[in-house]
């Protein structure tokens, strides 16, 4: 969690000079274009984006065309080395590892996306409200967030996931990770909003009699979009890794379903004996996190006009 926090803090530190932003709709488009242009210039980020899209396609489209699914089949011989028919070999019980990898990537990505979206949504709104009202409401809301922050994430998840009846499914894992990760986002967004609310366009909106919800959703949050987007991106990588760590200590997604973390965990003693079981899911985890980190980096640069312009 602190990794995330560190990165979020730096996302915040990097945030663009928000006064320059304009809320006018027509100009936002051009701004989007500008951001996109800057993003494209970040070569690593562009390569990463393409790679990530390929992985997503592999995970979600692959299972539709591949002849095997991730479950055990009597017709698949156990413990085969890689071949054309089974590019990543088979497990003892007779799963096609290639199909498992696709399914695992799918489940891991689903977990990651849900975590990212749900946590970011809750965290942003929570942080924006706290930052907007300040004072006692802010104090109470942030203390509540602190309660979740002082419990280390995997610790909390490990303690709670034994409680999920009937095995742990991907959405259960996702929701549990959400439960303990929204607070970091809330803290970041609050910081941004605290400084935003003092600016003229917010004061103008307030003077014009805009309702609180309108100010928060139409003015504050869109203007805090930069750090929020970066944070949400990084949360994807964090969720993938958290899920893997959970699998390692035995509290992740449970069979017959599969995730990348579960696969790597199950094959961790196989790294040197049956590498085809260990490396495909492992490399996929690394690839997902790596690409996402680079995309986050690219986004940060793209959303920050100052830094990308400076070349010495």
């Amino acid at each position: 969690m602190s990794d995330l926090h560190n990165r979020l803090v730096s996302a915040e530190a990097d945030r663009p000079d928000l006064t320059e932003e304009n809320v006018n709709k027509g100009e936002q488009l051009t701004q989007m274009q500008m951001i996109w242009r800057r993003f494209r210039r970040h070569r690593a980020a562009m390569v990463s984006l393409v790679l990530l899209l390929v992985i997503v396609a592999f995970a979600f489209v692959g299972p539709l065309v591949w002849p095997y699914d991730h479950t055990v089949s009597r017709d698949i011989a156990g413990n085969l080395s890689p071949s054309l028919q089974h590019p990543f070999g088979t497990t003892k019980q007779g799963n096609d590892v290639f199909a498992q990898t696709m399914r695992g990537a799918q489940q891991s990505l689903k977990v990651a996306l849900v975590v990212s979206i749900v946590s970011t949504t809750i965290g942003s709104i929570w942080g924006a409200i706290a930052g907007y009202y300040r004072g006692r409401i802010d104090a109470i809301m942030m203390r509540i967030a602190d309660v979740f922050l002082i419990i280390p994430l995997i610790v909390a998840v490990a303690a709670i996931s034994g409680n999920v009846r009937g095995g742990t499914t991907w959405y259960a894992v996702a929701l549990i990770i959400c439960f303990f990760s929204w607070a970091t986002i809330a803290r970041v967004v609050r910081g941004v909003v605290l400084s935003l609310r003092e600016q003229e366009f917010i004061e103008a909106a307030r003077a014009a009699g805009a309702k609180v919800t309108r100010i928060i959703f139409r003015h504050l949050l869109p203007n805090a979009a930069g750090p929020i987007i970066v944070a949400a991106t990084l949360l994807v990588a964090l969720a993938v890794l958290t899920e893997a760590s959970l699998s390692f200590i035995g509290f992740g997604i449970q069979p017959p379903d599969i995730s990348l973390g579960k696969m790597v965990e199950g094959a961790r003693t196989a790294a040197f004996t049956r590498p085809w079981l260990f490396y495909p899911p492992g490399v996929l985890i690394v690839l997902i996190c790596l690409t996402i980190n680079f995309i986050g980096d690219g986004l940060r640069d793209a959303l920050d006009p100052r830094q990308t312009m400076v070349r010495r």
Binding site: V72, G78, K92, G167, G250, P255, A267, T269
Partner: protein, 563 residues
Amino acid sequence: MENRRKLLGAAAVGVSAALVLGACSPPADDDGAGGASSVSWIVNQAGGGWNHNTPEGGSVYVIQMLHGVLPVPGHWDPSGEWQWNTDLLVNTPELINEDPMVWEYEINPDANWSDGEPIDADDFIWTWKMNSGNEELCADNCNSRGTLLTAQFESVEGSEDGKTVTVTMKDGEKFPEWFTFAADGLYPAHLAEAEGFDLDTPEGMLESSNWFNENPIPISGGHYLIEEGAALDGRVVKTVNEDYYGDLPNIEEIILEVNTEEGSWVPALSNGEIQGAAPASWSDDVITQLEDAQGVEFGIEPGGSWEHVDINMDNETLSDKALRQAIFMAIDVENIATRTYGEKFPEIEPRTNHIFDNNSEFHEDVVTELGQGSGDSEAALEVLEDAGYELDGETLTLDGDEVAPLRLRYTAGHVAREIIAELIQSDLAKIGVTIEIETTDDLGGTLSEQDYDLMIYGWSGTPAFASSPSQFWRSDSGSNYGNLNNSEVDELVDKAMNVATPEESAVFANEAAALVAEEAYVLPIVSTPVFYFYDTNYLSGVTDNNSQSRRALWNQHEWSAVE
């Protein structure tokens, strides 16, 4: 400001350095000994207490840690034969009388604890009281983990200066495996007395039980002595007991290290940090690593525990015997066994009796003739059709109603059971029975709450079997989780416990097992194979013993160091 920063920086570095170095100063020298031949051996899990008679201390891990420290009257050899401890006993105990059952131990007059006190009847009496289940002898049941045999004792008495011990059972009570009394080791009663506990009062006994549970034994009645600083969740260092009354062992020091991460074993072995292990769980990849490693000897054998599928008889769908039979017939146990263990252990075969392993002298195949475990889905479908079921495409129906999906459960993270579950799921799909796999984190709770339709789990045991049928199947037994209710079985399991010899007992046990198979209540899968390994650059003479909790450590006193 400048100075303040410097100061802070220096302080920060200083503090961290102090932390690192402070943790690195050696603890006070005590003896400076250190054997030339020292063996580090892995124990799979932390122990919970030093008294193996209690539930916390009663794990195989504690018994391994205490092995060679507590004197034992006898033990099971690798072939499952009972062997008396000829160092401790000068006679071969036999039944002197059958009703009531009476037997006698004659203790070696030279057999002393390492503090010079004799090993005598008091130590046997303590073990009896500890496990008597009698509130007048021991308060709060002494927190005993098992009172089955000892609760039937009328008395344990010493004579000849306590060097002869006579055990008398209550009238009418019999137990075929009477010789297993105190098999996990005797505790030094005189030590408890020296601590001030009055062993003639129930409270004193309870206090002594707790005291033994909380403290590692400082003296030894066997080959090895526990050194100070032993930790149940860390390391137990055992050195030779120089005052042992038999032949001294060759290995001067045995270090038992708790290690819960199987991925670290072979690296640590090849790095010379450990010399061997007999892990409780199975791992193909660890075995593959061992195959590739240099200077390592390892072996694989069927172990003491066995996996099985249980049916919840109270489930409405499963209350139909025909369905249960069909389910057991459709499961291909041979295929399961091969896929689960066959790669590294081609000799694996389906287990065909609940009580006896296929290699046991008492073994009778009770499932094959019923077609159970054959994977013959055609035959299974025939049984179903005769009982009025219909297979329509992929769904099985009874009188037009679809057969509800069944929940198959097992312990989360158990790799072998995961494989078994997935294979059963695919087997049963062929007869239209839908299986939903659900893992559990709480095996005991799930079982006792009957929160399952089908359950995969294991029973473990020693060659002692007489009480198992009653425990598994008697209608009022707490471990009859699926709630089998069959009065014939009840009668048979009682008889199996209440005879004087294992041979007589086995007859009843087999009859009961046949009835259970007929009911299609429990389907045995395999006797779980286990493996052990050791570094041949350091050690020789190591063999596994699956009849004992101590596993390969069982003959540690016969090991020798390689020059």
